[in-house]
Symmetry: C2
Subunit: 465 residues, 2 copies
């Protein structure tokens, strides 16, 4: 019944069913996504895809973000390209329980459809966005963690389903049509982790957006699929979660409609016991793998301490960090050669925090990673695994050449659920990402995105980005 | 090395490397595919997709088959829609070792690209077609049968890879670009078996064609992916074949370049020991699951016997068939309600063979399945599982009301590798499928397709279909 549950819940949810904090989380998710998509709009992964696929572009009905309304293409390709752009700097949001980056596939599809069709208010848009994000996170929870461990990029494998449910909601499809849309989306399983480190990683959420959009449009037209796409013996969960024992029970748990059976299931919100996954969504202060965030946070704090005390990073003698064991496993690259490799180097993360007091996309440009000054500090950083630390915890000790010691203990890195980025930090991140693309239009774009809830027609928002 | 092997083999193969029987198999595969795609062009699965997606169609550069050049759309959507049409009657070809329907994804992508770009000869086309079909069948063999058993529709999960390799070959991509194309295709794993029985089943080969085409176009533009997309720990084979033990050895076996390591690997043809998978491709005489073919064959032969002896099917008293156990497991539907269900009824298969002496799409139309005359005979058919029979074997005994007994023993059903459809049968199948769509243009279309090898520009062929 999981597929039917999901479809009927999605169809029945009303704006008034959602608490204010859920709506606020959706606004923040959209805002962060828009900044990432604008900021990633000039990356080669985006521009190569744009140029290569331009012979196929259909009627110009949907805007490419970062082009300020000057470039419109068909909605399918807009969903693809905005989805690619939003993920390409590894700077998008993270549902920490599943490490799904939920907004990319859903918002990329939704914004394209909203502009193509026209006439949808900000509230229509946010309702559909929330429905889609809940859908992808709930189905992701049902197959997590084995699904990811095997090698699936869970953002896109669940993202097509989330995008399909969201577009179905926006277009007002029936339960039966939404069920078919889920099926057409579920059968398109995009995303192998082996692609990490190449352009194809960011292709994944883009293609998920496009696949989900297509699924909803086909279902609206009467295209049929299975009514048990998620739970059938040879349906989505059993096939992509084949190594997970007891997956039927997990589907019930996360997609249940019955409060007695589950306290986490979708569709339980009206009973007051449901868990909104969007409230567990987090935002990255730094454009790299989340395991490096604690050390950038601590190093940035030490940068502040040095400034206060009139010290200079050039005078650092050595840096010793204690980190969670995953950090060195995933990001232990000692000598990164370029920006992309820098994202997999905890040592680079420490160096930029200490030198610049920040870790933005600028500090991951190739020339920074290759800068002798940065390399000098990077080589002085030593990291030691400590099993007693949490995944978002670190202790960093910098010893200056005069013997002075600066130490910071970060228990929960900024951007975690415990220490979330506040609205001001999100705005600085937006401006920082988008200024080079939008120029003096950046403040206006920021305001438009913050005010998405009050937009009369979301098409007008898309055009201005 | 599997990915690199496949790419470098594909790039190096020349037309002169291929024996005449391989080229002939490719011509027959193309011919059969074109008939299926034209024959399926008016099916709701095709027309709904066409209508629903038309708002996204780009510049009209590629023809929809069955429209005789009157409908051109962008090449991506042409690949999708022709791919859907070619599979929708379950009448396309079958690589029996993997039950991949290999030509749909590859030819649908290739023909669209050939027409879009223009200037490719029939020989260019056939070379790329063969390269693509070998690619998808070899990677399919590496994950078979566990991959299919888990629930993947192997035609499309391998088809995107085959289409990407084929389009890369046609466009003359380098080994490095072809490797990237394989990666972008491999990361798009489309097709759950749960969708069988709905429109989404035929969406699978169409989407595989489109995904493979897109992969090659992106790779040509410089888009990067993994260089070990197929064999990496979290690459295609390990992820989609996660339940298969020893998959690394199977990749070596089927994608090896070294005759000492394997006698089946791709790229061994020049050493004279390679196995061409296209020579193991078969064609369906009947538009239904292959397990019903023996009983239709035997019943059709009995129809001939009745005719010779002046008997009428109306006077059949009872029919008793011995069949392989899989037949009743997969197609034991006693009372099919419509054409689609009829394809899963061995009893309907016997009835149409006995009454009409054939089993073409006409005999699977709803009104035939619901015809009282057909139902009367169908209800008289009894089938018994017999483990001693082969999967393509049956014994059918019809008892007439006057006590006369007619018996046929089919050891290998027509369409099997042992009793292949000859060229005349393929031509009758083509005409039978396409006459209603093409009218009096059907013979000309048949001739154009047979002569594909000698086409100066394949774009001219596409236009005429």
């Amino acid at each position: 019944m999981a597929t039917h549950h999901l479809a009927s819940w999605a169809c029945s949810l009303k704006y008034s069913d959602m608490p204010q904090n859920v709506i606020q989380a959706a606004v923040r998710s959209f805002y962060n996504w828009a900044g990432c998509a604008i900021g990633g709009s000039k990356h080669p992964a985006t521009t190569i895809a744009h140029n290569s696929l331009s012979p196929f572009f259909g009627p110009p009905t949907a805007s490419l973000l970062g082009h300020q309304g000057k470039t419109k293409i068909d909605a399918q390709h807009a969903a693809l390209l905005n989805g690619i752009a939003s993920h390409v700097h590894d700077y998008d949001d993270t549902h920490l329980d599943t490490i799904i980056h939920p907004t990319g596939p859903v918002a990329s599809a939704l914004l394209a459809v909203a502009e193509w069709k026209g006439g949808f208010s900000g509230k229509d848009f946010l309702l559909a966005l929330i429905v889609g994000i809940e859908a992808e996170c709930k189905v992701g929870l049902a197959v997590w963690p084995e699904h990811y461990d095997v090698g699936w990029h869970i953002t896109s494998t669940t993202g097509s389903i989330g995008a399909a449910v969201a577009v179905s909601k926006l277009l007002g499809l029936s339960i039966s049509q939404t069920t078919n849309a889920i099926g057409v989306a579920a059968t398109q399983v995009v995303g192998l982790r082996e692609m990490f480190g190449s352009h194809t990683k960011s292709f994944h959420p883009g293609r998920a957006a496009q696949s989900g959009l297509m699924a909803a449009v086909l279902a609206e037209g009467g295209y049929t699929s299975s009514e048990q796409a998620l739970e059938a013996k040879r349906g989505w969960a059993n096939v992509v979660g084949v190594t997970k024992p007891g997956i039927a029970a997990d589907l019930d748990k996360w997609l249940g409609m019955n409060a007695e059976a589950s306290e986490h299931g979708v569709g339980l919100f009206s009973a007051g016991v449901g868990r909104w996954e969007i409230l567990r969504n987090s935002f990255k202060p730094f454009p790299c793998g989340i395991v490096i965030h604690p050390i950038i946070d601590a190093s940035t704090q030490i940068h502040g301490d040095m400034k206060t005390q009139g010290l200079d990073a050039q005078n650092i003698k050595s840096v010793h960090a204690k980190v969670h064991p995953l950090v060195l496993e995933l990001t232990g690259k000692r000598k990164p050669k370029d920006g992309l490799e820098g994202k997999f180097s905890v040592f680079h993360g420490a160096a930029i925090g200490l030198i610049y007091g920040k870790g933005t996309p600028s500090e991951y440009e190739d020339h920074v990673v290759q800068d002798a000054k940065v390399i000098a500090i990077r080589d002085k950083v030593n990291a030691e695994s400590d099993k007693s630390l949490g995944a978002d915890e670190t202790i960093v000790v910098a010893t200056m050449s005069d013997g002075k010691i600066l130490e910071r203990h970060v228990k929960h890195a900024v951007g975690s659920l415990e220490v979330p980025m506040d609205d001001g930090m999100l705005q600085r991140k937006f401006v920082d990402q988008c200024a080079a693309v939008l120029g003096d239009r950046v403040q206006a774009a920021s305001e438009i995105c913050w005010d998405i809830e009050y937009a009369k027609d979301v098409a007008d928002v898309a055009k201005l980005l």
